[in-house]
Amino acid sequence: MEDHGSVALRRLLAALPAAVQETHARLGDATAVVDRDRIVDVLRLLRDDRECAFAMLTDITAVDYLPRAPRFEVVYHLYSPAKNHRVRIKALVTEADPRIDSAVALYASADWMEREVWDLYGIRFNGHPDMRRILLYEEFEGHPLRKDYPKERRQPLVGPRN
């Protein structure tokens, strides 16, 4: 593993070498794959380190690489307004245990984005204060961005509650 000239990856490898599984910087995007269980430590380091200063959690999303195991990747994009640099952090999540720790305590922006990942991919965020669906309705069956969710699938009709 190497830092590819990225300050963020260098600091990450220096401080938490055991948590990092892989790094790359293809097409100029510095990327690190980290242990799922250490994600909060990694994000905290990147936020609080003075050279990294990733004050903004720009985006959280997931990717479903269906036949592959572990099946899901949760992808975090961080941006530092002070240093004007970016990093991408990924954590692998298995189909059998689709959970990861929530980043809400570190970044307020994680709140809605984690709810969206739960809604569309069915990955739960441990410690999230309000893990409701956000784009779809509570009665929706399944998680539509999973690759095994057919695009044409119909949902049962939902009547008015009460």
Partner: protein
């Protein structure tokens, strides 16, 4: 003895009348389709009298599976879906997606194409800000400035139509280029447009900017500070209204923005009035950029507007009809489009609402594995509950207007 059916209220002392009257909390359901909001969203508002105690924002009413649709078509078929993310600035969404795909393909677009893209983006941005400011006035019950704004927006859309062939869903930016060059007469017409838009913006300014009612509704309402914006990853005019000059056109210049002279307006206190002033000034700056684009395009002279890369461009018709290789290539291009090298990348543009990013993943085939749109509308809406805690119910309207949530982009 049975309780009386209507118990008489306990007698009130004089002190009771001096106190602030706290009513029982009441839950008000506003939306999803409300005449005073330009955006499809539902608010569950817990009210104490007229003050907001708690605000639950429920989005998703326009969810139509943008990402799922993109993952089931070819790369080119995703571009029209990006048009429909934000009806005000379709070009910016096209651009964000195409820049991401071009990054994966490692394509460098010709100079003329880049200037055309900037020109179309800035036209789009003017249209978006005009809608935001005009419609906000309408929702604060001012019809006249809305009409000035809409006249200017129509002119903007007329010019986008000349450029792209459609007013709203432009589908102008393509992977590796733009649909076509400017038509004849566009430059002259666009100069007239800039002059007329400046006049209309002046009229708008005279009616609105120092209007007592407008100022009272906007000043010190929906205040947000810089730290909260950063924590919520809020970008665009909302962040700039707090005094932070973050603008991706300056911070990470894409296309030819590093060769263009323009200023980034910032506010001071981060209230709705600052957001309004930032948006108006951004329109003036966009008009300045458009002028520079027109001058530069004139200087550049005719040239290619698409990369000559067989992976993304169709071969010339004459060769398709006469040569076997080009015929096969044309067939493959039409039926499945480009095959994008395996990998992942993130590219972002400064849209009218903030950072509009696209994270795309390819496995090397003609169908994307993942097209994630990082929607500024969605992310900017998240802190709204906190911005309005304790505020009057009436402050919700201008605050929501100047956040400028666009349902198509927020809900995807």
């Amino acid at each position: 003895m049975a309780e009386p059916y209507f118990p008489s209220p306990p007698l009130r002392s004089d002190d009771d009348f001096e106190r602030d009257l706290h009513t029982e909390h009441q839950v008000l359901n506003m939306g999803p389709s409300h005449p005073a909001t330009h955006g499809t969203v539902k608010f569950l508002i817990e009210l104490d009298g007229e003050n907001i105690v708690n605000l639950d924002i429920q989005v998703g009413y326009l969810h139509r599976g943008f990402e799922k649709e993109c993952e089931s078509g070819t790369w080119y078929q995703a571009i029209p879906y990006t048009d429909r993310l934000n009806y005000n600035s379709a070009v910016l969404a096209n651009l964000g997606f195409c820049l991401a795909v071009e990054k994966l393909l490692e394509l460098e677009t010709p100079e003329r194409c880049q200037w055309l893209r900037v020109l179309a983006s800035e036209l789009s941005r003017v249209g978006d800000h005009l809608t935001r400011c005009g419609a906000s006035c309408l929702e604060l019950a001012a019809m006249t400035p809305f009409l000035y704004g809409i006249e200017a927006r129509e002119l903007t859309w007329d010019h986008l139509e000349m450029l792209c062939g459609a007013r709203v869903t432009s589908n102008y930016i393509r992977i590796g280029g733009v649909k076509h060059d400017m038509p004849n007469g566009f430059r002259e017409s666009c100069r007239g447009y800039i002059a007329r838009t400046r006049e209309l913006l002046r009229d708008f300014d005279e009616v609105v900017t120092s209007n007592r009612i407008f100022v009272d509704r906007l000043k010190d309402t929906g205040v947000i500070d810089r730290e909260t914006c950063i924590r919520y990853a809020v970008t665009g005019p909302i962040l700039r209204s707090t005094g932070d000059p973050l603008d991706l056109r300056k911070a990470e210049p894409y296309l030819v923005y590093d060769q263009i002279d323009f200023d980034v307006p910032v506010g001071t206190v981060g209230d709705n009035y600052d957001r309004y002033l930032v948006c108006v000034e951004e329109m003036h700056q966009s008009l300045r950029i458009i002028e520079q684009c027109l001058a530069k395009l004139e200087k550049l002279g005719p040239g290619p507007v698409n990369v000559l890369d067989p992976r993304v461009r169709w071969p010339a018709k004459g060769r398709v009809f006469n040569r076997m290789e080009e015929l096969i290539q044309h067939f493959k291009s039409v039926t499945e489009g480009p095959r994008v090298p395996a990998g992942e990348c993130y590219a972002a543009v400064e849209s009218a609402n903030g950072e509009l990013g696209f994270y795309v993943v390819s496995d090397g085939s003609a169908v994307p594995v993942k097209v994630r749109c990082r929607p500024p509308s969605f992310i900017n809406l998240a802190p709204m509950g906190g911005m309005l805690k304790g505020a009057l119910l009436a402050d919700l309207i201008p605050t929501f207007d100047f956040i400028n949530m666009v349902g198509g982009e927020c809900d995807r």
